[in-house]
């Protein structure tokens, strides 16, 4: 065996790939991990994550109460509208019970409640300092186990014998392995690939995560004729600050005041009910809504009453003492915006504003009504944030079985090729999103891939 031959070759250094590498190395495998990004940007989109959503019966580490399989699965069904592989999903929920402990034992730290045990979360365990802390801890642990890590190592060629993996190539370097784990994420940072489905509007998309998720490995796997899940035109998009960087803006670019004001497009007209529902739901729909507007732009308009009532956005808003002046500052027709705002104000019905519940304070008689939290926009100064669609992740992936093996077109699994993380998330999460579930998928399927790869490589 030469030095470039391993029991397991892992492509991708996010949570899923790291966990697969660690599990196999702990079982006694020689492991090589190929990370496409340079060291400073390692960890894929795990670097931008914040928490994990484990199922638990009774208090678990930093989590309180119980979050059992039925409640969790109901949540999953609700967000995916049924687009999930039930046996795979239920197995994942069951196995997620040990995810927090598994990570803690390998040096990952979780955030203790800030205000004593009264402030314990129930569904989501937060990484202390964020996902990069998890990435750092797992790389440290992997290296202590002897995992050979290569940075700037984007796999650009795969060598298969039928459905059996032989080697992965990074430029001129060949890494052959008895087994292979594909864990290199989705293709949300590949604008050309997105353009195939979305057209030129992608020029106005912002990519919230790592610029290294270009989907190269996913493409190679699909070219190998493995089965896919999901379609290329599906992506998770939220409305974020239009001034955010093209790539890698992460969490801080969110703008969380849509329900406190109105949202207009470039024609200064409203286009959707801003008061439809609470944060998690509206958060996930506004990306697509804005993507359908002219130039993929929206402007959220609030007044003084809303200040301090929402998470502060990263960039300061435009500010003016009149709606007309504000319109000029953000490049809208001032007469149309003034009319939109006054029509909205005039249509507000009776009721008390209460942002903590669906308060029923609504407009009546507008083409697009606001059905909750319809408070007037009348107290100067007025503020505007410009929104653009921010792409979080893509759903297209490879199909796997319960052992994490990728499936060929005839439904047979490859004997030695596995997938974990975002590249196979579509198996469980066919649509929508549930906070922390991406990390749960990466964690559980990373472990499964590592275990099964070790079992195969070591002939156990």
């Amino acid at each position: 065996m030469n030095s470039n031959s391993f029991d397991l070759v892992v492509a991708g250094g996010g949570q899923a790939g790291l966990i697969a590498a660690i599990v196999a190395a702990e079982a006694g495998c020689s492991v090589c991990l190929l990370e496409g990004a340079p060291l400073e940007y390692r960890g894929g989109n795990t670097r931008h994550t914040r928490n994990l959503r484990p199922m638990h019966k009774g208090p678990l580490s930093v989590l309180s109460g119980t979050y059992d399989e039925e409640e969790y699965f109901d949540d999953l069904l609700r967000v995916t509208k049924g687009k999930t592989n039930e046996p795979l999903a239920r197995m994942m929920l069951q196995r997620s019970q040990t995810s927090v402990q598994w990570l803690e034992q390998r040096g990952v730290q979780f955030q203790p409640p800030l205000g004593g045990t009264l402030h314990l979360g129930r569904t989501n365990a937060f990484f202390l300092g964020g996902g990069k802390q998890l990435v750092n801890a797992l790389f440290r642990h992997a290296e202590s186990l002897g995992v050979e890590v290569h940075y700037n190592a984007m796999v650009d060629k795969l060598d298969f014998d039928g459905d059996r993996f032989r080697a992965a190539w990074v430029g001129d370097l060949c890494f052959s392995g008895k087994t292979f784990v594909a864990a290199a994420g989705g293709f949300e940072a590949n604008l050309d690939w997105l353009r195939e489905s979305w057209g030129d509007v992608v020029d106005n998309f912002l990519i919230r995560g790592t610029p290294y998720n270009t989907g190269g490995l996913l493409k190679l796997m699909l070219e190998q004729n493995f089965q896919s899940v999901g379609t290329a035109d599906q992506c998770h998009a939220v409305a974020i600050d239009g001034r955010a960087p093209k790539f890698d803006g992460g969490i801080c670019t969110r703008v969380d005041c849509v329900s406190l004001g109105i949202v207009v497009n470039e024609n200064a007209e409203r286009f959707y009910d801003e008061g439809e529902d609470f944060w998690p739901k509206r958060y996930a729909i506004w990306g697509r809504l804005v993507a359908k507007q002219p130039n993929q732009v929206g402007h959220v308009i609030i007044d003084q009453k809303a200040i301090g009532k929402f998470m502060p956005p990263v960039f300061p808003p435009e500010k003016a003492n009149t709606i007309e002046e504000l319109a000029e500052k953000i490049g809208l027709d001032s007469k149309v915006l003034a009319k939109t705002v006054s029509d909205y104000n005039a249509a507000i019905g009776p009721g008390e504003f209460d942002h903590t519940e669906l308060d029923g304070l609504a407009t009546d008689g507008l083409a697009v009504n606001k059905t909750n939290w319809a408070r007037s926009i009348a107290t100067p100064p007025f503020y505007a944030y410009t929104l653009k669609p921010g792409i979080t992740f893509t759903y297209l992936g490879v199909k796997i079985d319960a052992q994490g093996r990728v499936l060929t077109q005839n439904g047979q699994p490859s004997p030695n090729t596995f997938a974990a993380g975002e590249i196979m998330a579509g198996n469980v999460l066919g649509e929508g999103y549930l906070a922390g579930i991406g990390m749960t998928i990466g964690n559980v399927f990373g472990q499964i891939a590592g275990e099964e790869a070790a079992r195969y490589a070591l002939n156990r």
Binding site: G107, P112, L114, P312
Partner: protein, 378 residues
């Protein structure tokens, strides 16, 4: 309110951090930040002085350089903190000593040590190289030492007190007798235990490398308590001298000697350890404008303990004159530079931590806000 490059950079960082908040579990800085929407020199001085420069938020930051946001809270706050020391220093012109602080302190040290040598040598004449029954008092009389150090101490106390008052006012704290004592107790406890070097969950902070460690806390405690024991040694000796009419020299099983020896070892191990891990730590987290302030201070503490223990060992030899002059020079430098060097950090840190405890108690920002809502009394 001032608007310097450091203040503007601090405000830029806090706007990003306040929108992200992933680090809220690490320390008081981020929990205090979350009570605010706008950042100005007052509340940035507050946040910078809450920061213990532990590095956790830097190593765990998704926006750390080379990311285009170039977030480096410990580095920028180190610079801002140093700027704040100069800002609140009394008398105001002396605040300039914080520019090129390492150089100034080194110059003062050389001059003062040389003066101490010259004066004791001149004053004691042939006795400088002699062996004395009263050990060091044979070289320099007790009264001479007391008059020099007494005068300096009075000035130092005044300067420290008035500098602290300036910072106290910027922190928007009420008069000391109107303080909420629960918060004061919490603040003192968090300062003495170095709570915010624990990483936020008790596992330790990311210093000197990204792996959680308690090493910084250990070496800092050795330094702090070493210093306090040395201080206790001097204080008990003063009480014994004046109150009990028991002048030095003291035997090895006396309070001044026991405190001094224990403290001296702490004050050797602590600064050495801090200097060592400082070399290993990521350069970015140090800031760009420290100009030797931290390092000179650590060397000065180390010189104090080494010369002090040296004096104890050599007091009955002919080297007593030389060792004594050097030790006195070092201690004098330490004294003189207390209000104008790294020493001040302990006081501002404590005041900031008390302000933080009050804010947490009230669930409301107090520092750097234009109006303070009046609390119901009664």
């Amino acid at each position: 309110m001032r608007s310097t490059a450091n203040v503007n950079e601090g405000a830029r960082l806090m706007a990003i951090c306040n929108a992200c908040r992933y680090c809220e579990g690490h320390c008081a800085v981020f929990q205090a930040m979350e009570l605010r929407l706008e950042f100005n020199s007052d509340n940035l001085d507050y946040l910078a002085n809450l920061c213990h420069n532990c590095g956790s938020c830097y190593h765990h930051c998704q926006y750390a350089p080379p990311h285009e946001f170039k977030l480096n809270v410990p580095g920028v706050f180190a610079d801002l903190r140093k700027e704040s020391y100069g800002q609140y220093a009394w008398p105001k012109p002396m605040g300039k000593l914080y520019n090129k602080n390492g150089l100034w302190v080194s110059i003062i040290a050389s001059v003062v040590i040389a003066l101490a040598l010259a004066l004791t040598a001149l004053g004691s004449g042939a006795d400088f190289w002699g062996v004395h029954e009263q050990e060091f008092y044979g070289v320099l009389s007790h009264n001479a030492m007391v008059s020099v150090f007494g005068t300096v101490s009075l000035f130092v106390l005044l300067a420290l007190g008035l500098s602290m008052r300036n910072f106290w006012r910027a922190m928007n704290l009420p008069a000391p007798w109107d303080l909420d004592w629960r918060s004061v107790r919490t603040g003192v406890k968090n300062a003495l235990s170095l709570k915010y070097l624990d990483g936020g969950n008790g596992q330790g902070c990311a210093y000197p490398t990204e792996a959680p460690s308690h090493i910084r806390r250990v070496f800092h405690q050795l330094t702090f308590w070493g210093f306090m024991l040395c201080f206790a040694s001097t204080s008990t000796a003063t009480v014994m001298h004046y109150g009990l009419d028991l002048p030095a020299p003291y035997g090895y099983v006396s309070l001044p000697k026991l405190f001094g020896i224990l403290g001296g070892f702490g004050l050797i191990l602590g600064p050495l350890g801090l200097l060592w891990i400082k070399r290993k730590a990521d350069r970015n987290t140090r800031g760009e404008q420290n100009q030797g302030m931290d390092i000179t201070f650590l060397w000065l503490l180390l010189a104090t303990s080494v010369t002090g223990l040296g004096l104890m060992l050599l007091a009955d030899t002919q080297w007593v004159g030389l060792t004594l002059s050097v030790h006195l020079g070092v201690v004098m430098t330490l004294f003189l530079t207390m209000p104008y060097g790294k020493f001040i950090h302990g006081f501002y840190r404590l005041i900031a931590l008390v302000a933080f405890a009050m804010e947490q108690e009230e669930h409301q920002a107090r520092v750097g806000v234009e109006q303070i809502p009046i609390k119901n009394v009664g």
